[in-house]
């Protein structure tokens, strides 16, 4: 074990003692690893990036306005609400469960916002807290049904879809729609408020800086612990590409109105959930339960509590998404949360790379997926297509996303990657 290829460090590094494994180092190695990964069916973000490119090319040739800065700003405004709902969907999909009531939950949330805040004069913060608590309660109920009665989440949440829609119609009453004052902070947040340019640029630099700082720290700690450290080239390259892309995006949006605060808040939630899923014991348990619930149980994980938490997070995000949607539309109506909201949110999570079969996915998939879904919907609207065609096309896109997910899963299985 001592006759090792590592010449610089006399004692072999803990993870480099086995000569049978190819260790990809440096930029070329990272590239080779990436190609291997794609080939084995671990597609990651690739379908999304390709999809976005394809969509941009097709729609901008059909109608040049599609890529105009202000249209993209509008797209980001629209994306925040569905994106938040998709973020919750990621959590239930990770466990291999599903929540079909998210659309109705968001509709109920917007109705509650209208009734409590506009009609009854409850202060806005308290209204939002009450709405989110309602969401959490609904999630608790779904989790309870799943845990205690082993009711498939598909059925439980399908029942929830109807019940919550009924509740939404009930509390809206005969008028059926409540308009929100345009000068109010909520509607301004949903329609007007834009980050100052310097804030946008500053935020665009942060991810790259964090990548470089984080990998420096990790490398230090790894070499201190006698583990191999990957070197900085990959991290620096990643950070550079990301920073350039983000700065260009901000620059382009600044040609129009700029980056909406609403979208910024959504991204903040994505970052938060990403940390929770990747760096905490809760997140690790989520992946474990999604991968093999029995193994998780025998490892001492409380599977029922993890399930409960996933449903609570999902419904809470759906409720918050409903508030965002109400802010965007400046109204709470009977139509809120109906139609394609459900499918758009689920499609966004799946298109972004979260598997329907559980155990695979990330918070980023909600962000990327919702951009794809919203780009399609926005492009089709610009072409003046009727909603009948829009529904059909969105349905086809969801079907394709699930097929890709399914094929990738099969390929991963045959390549020995779960």
């Amino acid at each position: 074990m001592t006759q090792n290829t590592q010449k610089t460090t006399p004692p072999p590094q803990l993870d480099r003692a086995d000569a049978r494994v190819r260790h990809d180092a440096g930029l070329a190695g990272a590239l080779r690893g990436f190609v291997d990964q794609i080939r084995s069916g671990d597609l990651g973000m690739l379908p999304v990036v390709l999809g976005l490119l394809l969509i941009s090319v097709v729609f901008s040739t059909l109608n040049p306005i599609f890529l105009a800065p202000n249209n993209l700003v509008n797209l980001l405004f629209d994306a925040a609400a569905v994106g938040l709902i998709a973020l919750g969907v990621v959590c239930v999909l990770l466990l291999g469960e599903i929540d079909l009531s998210i659309g109705s939950m968001s509709g109920l949330a917007s109705a509650m916002t209208g009734v409590l805040w506009v009609n009854s004069g409850v202060p806005l913060p308290i209204t939002i807290i009450a709405v989110m608590l309602t969401g959490a309660l609904v999630g608790l109920l779904f989790g309870f049904l799943r845990n205690k009665f082993e009711m498939p989440s598909f059925v439980a949440t399908l029942a929830g879809l109807l019940a919550l829609l009924g509740l939404q119609l009930y509390i809206l009453g005969p008028t059926g729609s409540i308009n929100m004052p345009f000068s109010s902070p909520l509607v301004r947040f949903g329609q007007i408020l834009i980050m100052p340019a310097w804030v946008s640029y500053f935020v665009a630099i942060i991810p790259g800086a964090l990548i470089v700082y984080g990998s420096m720290r990790t490398n230090q700690r790894r070499s201190a612990a006698n583990l191999s450290s990957g070197g900085m080239s990959v991290a620096v390259a990643k950070a550079a590409i990301l920073t350039v892309a983000l700065i260009f995006a901000v620059f382009y949006l600044e040609q129009g109105r700029g980056v909406p605060w609403m979208f910024g808040v959504f991204v903040l939630f994505v970052v938060f959930l990403n940390y929770a899923l990747t760096r905490t014991k809760w997140g690790r348990s989520m992946f474990a339960v999604g991968g093999n619930a029995e193994a998780a149980r025998r490892s001492g994980i409380n599977v029922q509590r993890i399930r409960l938490s996933a449903f609570v997070v999902c419904s809470t995000f759906a409720a918050l998404g409903g508030v965002f949607a109400a802010a965007r539309l400046a109204s709470a109506s009977q139509q809120a949360g109906t139609g394609d909201v459900n499918l758009n949110a689920i499609a966004a999570a799946v298109i972004g790379g979260t598997s329907l079969f559980g155990g695979r996915g990330s918070a980023w998939s909600a962000l990327l997926g919702v951009l794809v879904i919203m780009a399609i919907s926005n492009g089709l609207t610009l072409l003046n297509l009727s909603s009948s065609l829009r529904y059909m096309i969105t349905g086809a896109v969801l079907a394709i996303a699930v097929i890709v997910d399914s094929l990738a899963r099969r390929s991963r299985a045959s390549h020995g990657r779960a």
């Binding site: 803990l14 760096r279 014991k281 474990a288 998780a296 025998r298 490892s299 020995g416 990657r417 779960a418």
Partner: protein, 268 residues
């Protein structure tokens, strides 16, 4: 993790079962079982189907409660009422189906449910401990950052055994660890069992494979129809073991052997 393991001296009596019985309604699964396990010894538990091996394992793992008898742990009588209690006391079990999460990597599986710093997982420290443990077992795992799905059956068995050792138990129970393995991988697992024993753990090995049992066991405890049916050593002849397991010197195995012998005789 080895530092904490200053516990039992080699040869010290860890576990002592006396008169343990288990009834499921009218069925007596175990009756008056006696079993001793010392530190640094491999005790094989053999018996035919329905002999009560799995029930005994489940009693020791805290899954089932015995209906009679006493379990002494380091001389003190104990109650194993939940799997967690058994685990905490220092009895770890590697189940036959391993129970690993295929979508997670080796480190994640080793530490599942016992992650270091739950709110900000310490991946570096976990990886260091994973490598240290795997190297102590001389395990041949190419990379601890690969998902379990990419490992072979023997490597998975190794990970499962390593995981049971992570909490530094005094006794580790292995339920049919070689049942699904090839020749080379079986040998690796047997080596692993010997290394675990040499680290001072008591090992309880359940197996149907007499060859494996005789290869590593210090003592062979035979169960038959829920009762003790003798304690043997690796030197015991195959025939003697088989007759203890089946309960008669005249049994299907011996009859088959005799018939083969006759056939060979007739051919000549």
């Amino acid at each position: 993790m080895t530092q904490e393991n200053a516990g039992p001296e080699k040869g010290e009596l860890i576990l002592r079962l006396r008169g343990v019985g288990k009834q499921f309604g009218a069925v007596t699964a175990l009756e008056d079982i006696e079993l001793d396990v010392h530190a640094g010894e491999v005790v094989a538990l053999v018996g035919d189907n329905g002999a009560g091996k799995s029930t005994l394992v489940k009693v020791l793992a805290g899954v089932h409660q015995p209906t009679s008898g006493t379990i002494e742990y380091f001389g003190k009588q104990v109650l194993l009422d939940t799997p967690a209690a058994a685990l905490e006391m220092g009895i770890a079990t590697v189940f036959q189906d391993l129970a690993l999460c295929e979508n997670l990597d080796v480190v994640a599986n080793l530490f599942l449910g016992h992650e270091i710093s739950p709110w900000r997982m310490d991946e570096v420290q976990m990886e260091v401990r994973a490598w240290t443990l795997l190297q102590e077992l001389a395990a041949r795992i190419p990379s601890v950052r690969e998902p379990i799905a990419s490992l072979s059956g023997g490597q998975r068995q190794t990970v499962a055994i390593a995981r049971s050792l992570l909490l530094d138990p005094h006794i580790i129970m292995l339920d049919e660890p070689t049942a699904a393995l090839g020749v080379a991988q079986t040998a690796e697992v047997l080596n692993l069992i010997e290394r675990v024993r040499d680290r001072g753990h008591g090992v309880i090995l359940i197996s149907h494979n007499m060859e494996d049992v005789r290869a590593v066991a210090d003592r062979i405890v035979v169960l038959r129809l829920g009762k003790n049916n003798g304690v043997f050593t690796a030197e015991t002849s195959h025939q003697e073991l088989v007759s203890a397991i089946t309960g008669a010197s005249e049994n299907s195995v011996s009859r088959r052997a005799a018939r083969k012998l006759e056939e060979v005789g007739e051919d000549q």
